[in-house]
Symmetry: C3
Subunit: 296 residues, 3 copies
């Protein structure tokens, strides 16, 4: 049982994970669940945020956690990666939580496993970050469970976002009909994702129930045709004024870490409609749900 890509999960499975996450939210510490299991965290790229979330999740379930900080290593998707995986498998490691810059690393690992160890994608490459998208969906579900009647706007660099593609998949599977992608032309997806697209911010978030703001990679600002931080904020940054265009009870989300003053103003980030820290909190519960479901 692995979690490689958001597309591997159907509606029933997503709902099962929601139930498990609710269970862990009600009672976070259940140390018998993964007692005598070993969860290894293979982070080929730094990520304090996601690594801590998985580490806390595994410890709350009673697993032994093995931290392999491989960011500094020169290990690539070649024999030495395979050698590391097979070595850890031979040591009876039960789960590999993997962050790697290349798209298909998790699939490659799964294809070469010799045991029944689980592989969990903690973001590989630029297209998929399923555990983040699951916690986002769960956080919406807690507040606005009637997915079919929600208007959800995803704002920002959808084209290069590590989480947006996974979000779009889950939200569609859960029944969202009015799903809008909002951003400058150069940030909108090249392929047809069967969503409405908007370059005009006001039209994009008008009467939305949920506004999901994406992180803008500042380094991308230097590219030709990409707006600078100031003009991006002016046109697409979420401010209290612009947020008034959405429904009065609209919720604001962000996968973090935020660039305050670029894609979101501090007032909105810390304001009453923001559920950004609840996303972080739910992240641990959703990862507990995933570890329970996949590894137990």
């Amino acid at each position: 049982m692995h979690l490689i890509d958001a597309k591997d999960l159907n509606k029933t499975q997503i709902e099962t994970l929601f139930e498990l996450a609710e269970n862990y939210k009600a009672q976070p510490w259940q140390t018998e669940v993964l007692k005598h299991k070993i969860v290894s965290l293979l982070f080929f790229e730094n990520s304090t945020r996601t690594r801590c979330s998985f580490e806390i999740a595994a410890k709350r379930l009673g697993a032994a956690v093995l931290n392999l900080d491989l960011a500094a290593s020169s290990m690539q998707k070649d024999e030495s990666l395979l050698d590391t995986i097979q070595t850890l498998e031979a040591m009876d490691v039960d789960a590999f939580v993997v962050r790697h810059k290349e798209e298909d690393t998790c699939r490659y690992i799964v294809d070469n496993l010799k045991t029944k160890a689980s592989v969990l994608n903690a973001r590989s490459g630029t297209q998929t970050h399923p555990s983040q998208a699951l916690l986002d969906a769960f956080t919406i579900y807690e507040r606005k469970p009637d997915f079919e009647n929600l208007s959800i706007a995803i704002v920002g660099d959808i084209r290069h976002s590590r989480v947006a593609h996974s979000n779009i998949h889950f939200l569609k599977v859960l029944g969202v009909k009015d799903l809008r992608l909002v951003g400058p032309e150069i940030f909108l997806p090249k392929q047809d994702l069967d969503c409405k697209t908007y370059t005009d911010f006001g039209s994009g978030i008008k009467d939305a129930d949920v506004v999901m703001v994406l992180r803008i990679q500042k380094e991308r600002m230097a590219d030709t045709d990409v707006p600078d931080a100031g003009s991006y904020f002016k046109n697409y940054g979420l401010t209290p004024e612009k947020l008034k265009l959405a429904k009065p009870d609209a919720i604001v989300m962000h996968p973090g870490p935020m660039n305050r003053g670029v894609e979101i103003s501090t007032k909105v980030a810390d304001g009453s409609q923001s559920i950004i820290l609840q996303q972080v909190q739910n992240g641990v519960f959703m990862r507990q749900a995933l570890l329970d479901w996949l590894v137990k």
Copy 2:
């Protein structure tokens, strides 16, 4: 409940911590105390010694420990530090043990907390290192509890010491009347700390009950007017001969790590009057006391 500065603690509180430390010295492993609590170690500067002390303390109390080795990170006291703290708070982390080069980082974190998490200063900046000073006071208390009648000499670079200012505070609160600061003029404090100061080593430690030797930062030796290691040792280094000027049963302390042959000779460091390793041992018990008192 936080521990930011030595000055935040009054005599009753210090005595409570002494009692707790004695309790943990009698029975070090009490894993129910912080069961299902998460203690995060945020070390923006390397410190094997202090990090291990807190890590062992937390594990003996049954806490889950999250190691965030941030020394290599470029994170500063700005939005990204705040973002990290708020993220960990949202993950229900119960305590932040913080080492940072800037003076007021812990206060800054406390001012921005949104939950009831505790902040423990594991040394920030150059002025305060309260957990070290507490373990020092506790180690004196075990051997010579009659603080009012003790003569205590602190020898070395008091001006730049990370621990001396905290030591002076605690010892005065505990009733020490004869507290002496000993060192070359350039190492004596600029402000009036209400202590006797001595540039003559012999007068400074004469008949002392306790000699607390401070670490000399070798890199400071290069500054103008600062003595080199050899001449410092000659004038202020604690040797068996010079130690004879103190009381026959005087105890010798050092916060570590020592520069043997600079501020202290190996014979004294490893001699029968040295209680330097007992300080290290008590350090874990005192940190257990602090975690118990602040986080439980």
Copy 3:
């Protein structure tokens, strides 16, 4: 009780460790054994493989594990190493698992210990790697326990191997009479190890029951007179064809990590006669046996 050098162990002790390893193989998680003990991993050189093996072993026995990643530190076998050891001893650390580039670091630590803490050599210098050699012997013992009648060929750079010297010692103590060292002249040991030596690969492994292949340090290939990877593989690389010269039920071993296509072909490494991953698995059980025997 320490494990510094393979030569410190006699036959009875080795057999005791085999029994303990079998016990842990039958029941890996026995968390009462080292409950309330602290095992510190002092790795002055990187080793994901050996570090993880010891970490899992310690956690299965219920110990608290302290990871000191010192590879990046400039700490040498001098006062600061000693200071670190004494500090950790004072914190009641029960075991030091040490990897260091210098030969006699473990002995140096043992000579300076002040408590009853144990020191376990996780490879120091170029001559000794006793825990690896013990797991190798145990893995042979499981399959072919009649050591006196075994023919065992060790193939590769015996001269510079970190594990071969320890292997030779254990196998001789266990009664192996036909022990062969196989490799180009420049890789054969300079001193007389009381083994037959072969520069001809075919004669060396003829009718062997066990073929132990050593890792070739690619960086050594650049030395004068040392064969390049291609010609080494041609003459000494273990291929399915060459393996036919050994007994039909011969087992193939390698301490890892492997250079596939240099000292061993992928077909042999992953083939039915390879017990390389069983070595890794047994490594954890043998390290549990060592920690039990030395630290409990």
